[in-house]
């Protein structure tokens, strides 16, 4: 089954919307919610174990796709750093009148700082727009997967999934 994901390496919106982890537009408009971009049946379930509200279900067999119960989900983002696929995001369409807040996992250096203006990118790494860093969470419980939250224009909420990687953070000497 050729798909955008298997041909190019990232899923199309259609592939995502037909998976059980992608919240409906109407739900997203109401407030913070998780966005799970995991559309292949792989043997994995830490997302299910991580959610304190039981909003993600994988069940048995472990290769089931993760299904999001958007009514139970509060968009808290606890599941984001637990997913080994770095495939979970959180979206808050109510952040302001014009902007949405997007949280995503980030494991590169340099780590952005709140207030930084950075380039937001889409699933294929293409620059989409400028964004403002709102929060950076690097708590010990995240186990070295930082969760970065940025503000982006609402119209890009379905497209933006991260920030441009910069390659100068490791101080190669």
């Amino acid at each position: 089954m050729p798909s955008t994901l298997t041909t190019f390496g990232y899923p199309s919106l259609d592939e995502l919307r037909s998976s059980p982890g992608y919240p409906a537009r109407e739900r997203a408009e109401k407030g913070p919610v998780a966005v799970i971009e995991c559309v292949q049946e792989i043997p994995c379930n830490p997302c299910e174990t991580a959610c304190p509200r039981g909003a993600i279900r994988v069940g048995i067999p472990i290769t089931n796709l993760p299904a999001l119960d958007a009514d139970k989900c509060t968009g808290c983002g606890v599941c984001i750093p637990k997913c080994p696929g770095l495939a979970i995001f959180a979206l808050d369409m109510t952040y302001s009148a014009t902007e949405a807040a997007l949280s995503f996992p980030h494991e590169y250096l340099p780590l952005p700082r709140p207030g930084d203006v950075v380039v937001a990118v889409d699933r294929g790494g293409k620059a989409v727009c400028a964004s403002r860093v709102l929060r950076v969470s690097d708590r010990p419980a995240n186990d070295r997967t930082a969760v970065v939250t940025i503000a982006i224009p609402k119209e890009h909420a379905d497209r933006v999934r991260g920030i441009a990687r910069r390659s100068e953070g490791n101080d190669i000497g």
Binding site: E107, L109, R144, N170, I172, G173
Partner: protein, 123 residues
């Protein structure tokens, strides 16, 4: 090219350094690392030249299986630099063919649990 900061592994911890001489050049290495790592940190990529064609070889498997990385260490040829730790005062030389007077013989015999791969017959 040492990786000083790393998002998962953190800062490179301090280590004692040792000095090795590579083809006459002094190279500072971290105690405990392999010769191959010290060379790579110093930007040295060619470890040896093959016997027949004189083709350059460098690190390939990094686990002691392919023998591409062998060099002359303290006068002994055919030492697999990817699994041999550095030591202070060590001399390391680029190897040409089997080394001086083909001493040391078959490189593959030296490596237990290895010898699975010969890259193009031109050892």
């Amino acid at each position: 090219m040492r990786i000083v900061h790393h998002p998962v592994l953190g800062e490179q911890p301090a280590a004692r350094t040792v000095e090795v001489t590579v083809d006459g050049r002094k190279v500072v290495a971290r105690e405990g690392e392999t010769i191959a790592a010290a060379l790579m940190a110093a930007g040295i990529k060619v470890h040896r030249y093959t016997r027949r064609k004189g083709a350059p070889r460098g690190l390939f498997c990094a686990i002691g299986q392919c023998t591409d990385c062998v060099m002359i260490v303290n006068g002994m040829p055919n030492v697999r630099t990817c699994v041999t730790p550095v030591a202070d005062g060590m001399t390391v030389e680029t190897q040409r063919g089997g080394g001086p007077a083909q001493a040391g013989g078959n490189t593959r015999r030296r490596s237990a649990g290895s010898g699975d791969r010969v890259r193009d017959g031109d050892d």
